[in-house]
């Protein structure tokens, strides 16, 4: 916090503690039209970002309710809350909604949309109408999915494995697959828009070596969105044809191969994990540099490691199939490549640590969330290395160990970074500061709640509790109760920001252009930004993260 006291509300309104508008707010994108139509038909990337924030929050709570049902059912060893069928449907709903309607769009479509043009000095994304279309596709597919999953139900899990999904499952597999197929176009269009924007709309002086690391990570993510999503689309078409007409390509009776489904599915779905975590890595790079008030250590390596993760991510899908009966040699290669992902991931974590060394750190909420991210990411990443080893994977495959691992990376990582981004750029988005004390409290609650929920699941998995069962031996109950208790703490952490962030919109201090004293073009424009982002097209003449280094005399 350096300068949030500088700009006061409009002097004429000084006595009016709420509702007072600053001059900046009057000309901001938020006040450029008040009708519902001005929001629903907007092509302003900042408004579309806000539409995404609202809609992903909605779908997050749908998915969270399913998670709550799962955790409540698991309080006791007997399956007494849900029927077997109901439990299967609950975890399918949870997985489908959380993966495709929360995690995939979470950071790219909200903060990516809001920040990329601001960070590179552009007026908007390259294709503003396509951006709006992408939101409509997303919302329609999402509502359709929720309707299908609640009205008819699907019990295949989010993975739609054959032959369960094509021959045995009851429920609306085809409709659910169609909804995921449709939302894929939203991903593709968003990724396409980001790639073209980063290539073609950078302001004068914004060279590739000066791009903020968040932009690098969204760029890497977009490549995956564009190239991996269509493979999922065609795979979903194939299982729908299989189920409807008996296509046979996944059916051994006709000469097809069920493993082919898993290959195609994970060819998308493993890179999809990097769609979720790469933007989070980009956010944390921004938060760490701003938190330490130092240039990021090894900028080129942090940027390059995003591209490396995206590229390697296309060649590791087979590690989901170590026990599926694929060739041992293939498994060995996939195991090696999966372990290799640790190199770019490690580069990031070490470089963040080096950035923090002798930094001027203040424990603001964004920084705490960044630290929570690093903790969860290291934990999830190291257990990922364990799972990439063939021998260990055979032991813990399809157990809660895997569940805990991917929740640490996908959920812990993505949500801590999402919250970090929300707390960091909130003053830019609405122009007001929120209560930092409450923000810090949320970060602590989140970190504790998350670990309390998912750490016991590592133990459960290692002891042999399989995933997707709601009846379990009584000796697992203690750990399951701890996990459910942790989920309650986590739930509180999810709800708290609603209160103080909403409060800040009316009663917060005006933030000023740059409340954190951070570098980056987005902090040079007013908060909230005007409709066209910048009064004049900015010109960049310095490297990124150009903080004044205030280290001790012994070190420079």
């Amino acid at each position: 916090m350096t300068s949030n006291m500088e700009q006061r509300p409009d002097p004429a309104n000084l006595d009016d503690r709420g509702l007072s508008e600053t001059e900046t707010e009057r000309v901001s994108y938020l006040r450029a039209g008040h009708s519902l139509k001005s929001w629903l038909l907007t092509t302003d990337h900042k408004r579309i970002a806000i539409l995404y924030v609202l809609s992903i929050t909605f779908f997050f709570f749908i998915g969270a309710m399913a998670a709550a049902l799962i955790r409540l059912d698991l309080l006791t060893p007997a399956g007494d809350l849900l029927t077997n069928e109901g439990y299967n449907r609950a975890f399918t709903l949870h997985g489908v909604v959380m993966v495709w309607f929360f995690l995939i769009p979470s950071i790219p479509n909200t903060f990516g949309n809001f920040l990329i043009p601001l960070m590179i000095g552009a007026k908007d994304l390259a294709f503003p109408k396509l951006n709006l279309l992408s939101w409509y596709i997303y919302v329609i597919a999402g509502l359709f999915t929720v309707f299908v999953l609640i009205a008819g139900g699907v019990d295949t899990g989010w993975t739609f494995y054959t032959p369960l999904s094509t021959m045995y499952a009851n429920g609306n597999v085809i409709l659910a697959a169609s909804a995921v197929f449709i939302v894929g176009f939203s991903s593709i269009l968003t990724g396409l828009n980001f790639i073209v924007t980063v290539h073609k709309l950078r302001c004068p002086g914004m060279t590739w070596n000066r791009l903020p690391l968040f932009v690098w990570s969204i760029y890497a993510t977009s490549i995956i969105l564009v190239l991996a999503t269509p493979v999922l689309s065609i795979t979903l078409v194939l299982i729908s044809l299989e189920r409807l007409f008996g296509l046979g390509i996944f059916n051994p009776a006709l000469g097809g191969d069920p493993l082919l489904y898993q290959h195609l599915f994970w060819f998308y779905s493993h890179p999809a994990v990097y769609i979720m975590v790469l933007p989070a890595l980009g956010v944390v790079s921004e938060l760490v540099a701003a938190g330490a008030r130092k240039p990021i250590f090894g900028y080129q390596f942090v940027a390059g490691s995003s591209i490396a993760i995206a590229a390697l991510g296309f060649f590791v899908w087979g590690h989901h199939m170590f026990v599926s009966g694929q060739s041992t040699y293939a498994s060995a290669v996939f195991s090696f490549l999966s372990i290799a992902v640790a190199i770019p991931s490690g580069i990031k974590v070490y470089n963040w640590t080096a950035t923090l060394f002798k930094g001027h750190i203040s424990l603001d909420p964004p920084f705490l969330f960044a630290m929570a991210f690093i903790g969860l990411f290291v934990f999830g990443g190291l257990t990922g290395l364990m799972l990439a080893m063939l021998a260990i994977d055979v032991h813990v495959h399809d157990t809660y160990f895997v569940i805990a691992h991917f929740h640490y990376i996908m959920v812990g990582g993505t949500i801590s970074a999402f919250f970090g981004a929300l707390h960091y750029w909130w003053p830019k988005i609405v122009g007001r500061m929120y209560s930092l004390a409450w923000g810090r409290l949320t970060a602590i609650f989140f970190f504790l709640g998350f670990n309390l929920t998912f750490f016991p699941q590592f133990l459960l998995g290692y002891l042999g509790m399989p995933r997707r069962y709601h009846v379990y031996p009584p000796e697992f109950q203690v750990l399951n109760v701890i996990s459910t208790g942790g989920a309650a703490v986590l739930g509180i952490a999810y709800i708290m920001p609603f209160v103080y962030l909403t409060y800040s919109m009316r009663y917060g201090q005006p933030a000023g252009n740059d409340p954190w004293g951070a570098t980056g073009l987005e902090w040079t424009t007013p908060s909230p930004p005007p409709k066209h982002n910048f009064e004049t097209i900015p010109v960049v003449d310095r490297p990124p993260y150009d903080y004044e280094i205030e280290m001790g005399d012994d070190d420079a």
């Binding site: 790639i195 073609k200 493979v231 390509i249 006709l254 000469g255 097809g256």
Partner: protein
């Protein structure tokens, strides 16, 4: 790129807008390639697992009709290329003519394809309800299934392309698209059309010529 081209919102100059549109289309086409790539991967898996039966199944297809269709589509691509050249030269009427010609060739392709499906239907090879199927092996059944799925997906893309070209032909004829300033619209539509052709150029050997 003529300097008089109109520039819309996020762009600074026509050159930038032109480049962005080209790049956007190429990226979209790369995602289309990955979409069909899934089908080609499935076809490759089938071929590797059952080489002899796939060759046998391929021999039942009418490769002459497929070859004729290949020629029709490649000619249509030539027409689209000529339309774009005319558009860049500002000759709206000529451009509209070539576009309409390409769209008609696209319709010819669909007509020939329909005739071919009908012939396969009569031979009991088309895997649709109501056919007295006469498959020599279950692999032939799988092969025909995949053939129908792939060619139908291609036909769907082609239909979208035909509608696109007809709309553009009409708009060009009415001078609703300022040429040569906005010839980028024809260029990007043309790129899509060429991709649909190229997909066929790969589908044809994979299914018809695997004999």
């Amino acid at each position: 790129m003529p300097e008089t081209a109109p520039v819309t919102e996020p762009y600074r100059d026509p050159r930038q807008q032109h480049d962005a549109a080209m790049m956007g289309m190429y990226i979209f086409l790369s995602s289309e390639i990955m979409l069909f790539g899934g089908l080609f991967a499935a076809a490759a898996a089938m071929r590797l697992a059952h080489a002899a039966e796939v060759v046998q199944a391929s021999q039942a297809l009418h490769f002459g009709i497929g070859g004729l269709n290949t020629a029709v589509l490649l000619t249509s691509s030539l027409f689209v290329a000529l339309a774009i050249e005319a558009g860049k030269g500002g000759k709206a009427a000529t451009a509209a003519g070539w576009l309409a010609g390409a769209a008609v060739l696209g319709l010819c392709f669909l007509a020939i394809k329909t005739y071919e499906y009908h012939a396969e239907f009569a031979e009991g090879l088309l895997p649709v309800p109501g056919v007295q199927s006469r498959y020599a092996t279950s692999i032939q059944h799988l092969f025909m299934n995949l053939y129908l799925a792939a060619t139908a997906l291609h036909a769907l893309h082609l239909t979208i392309g035909i509608v696109l070209l007809l709309v553009l032909a009409l708009q060009t004829a009415r001078r609703a698209i300022p040429l040569p300033q906005r010839s980028i619209i024809l260029i990007t539509a043309g790129l899509y059309w060429h991709l649909v052709d190229v997909v066929w150029v790969f589908l044809y050997p994979v299914f018809y010529l695997a004999r």
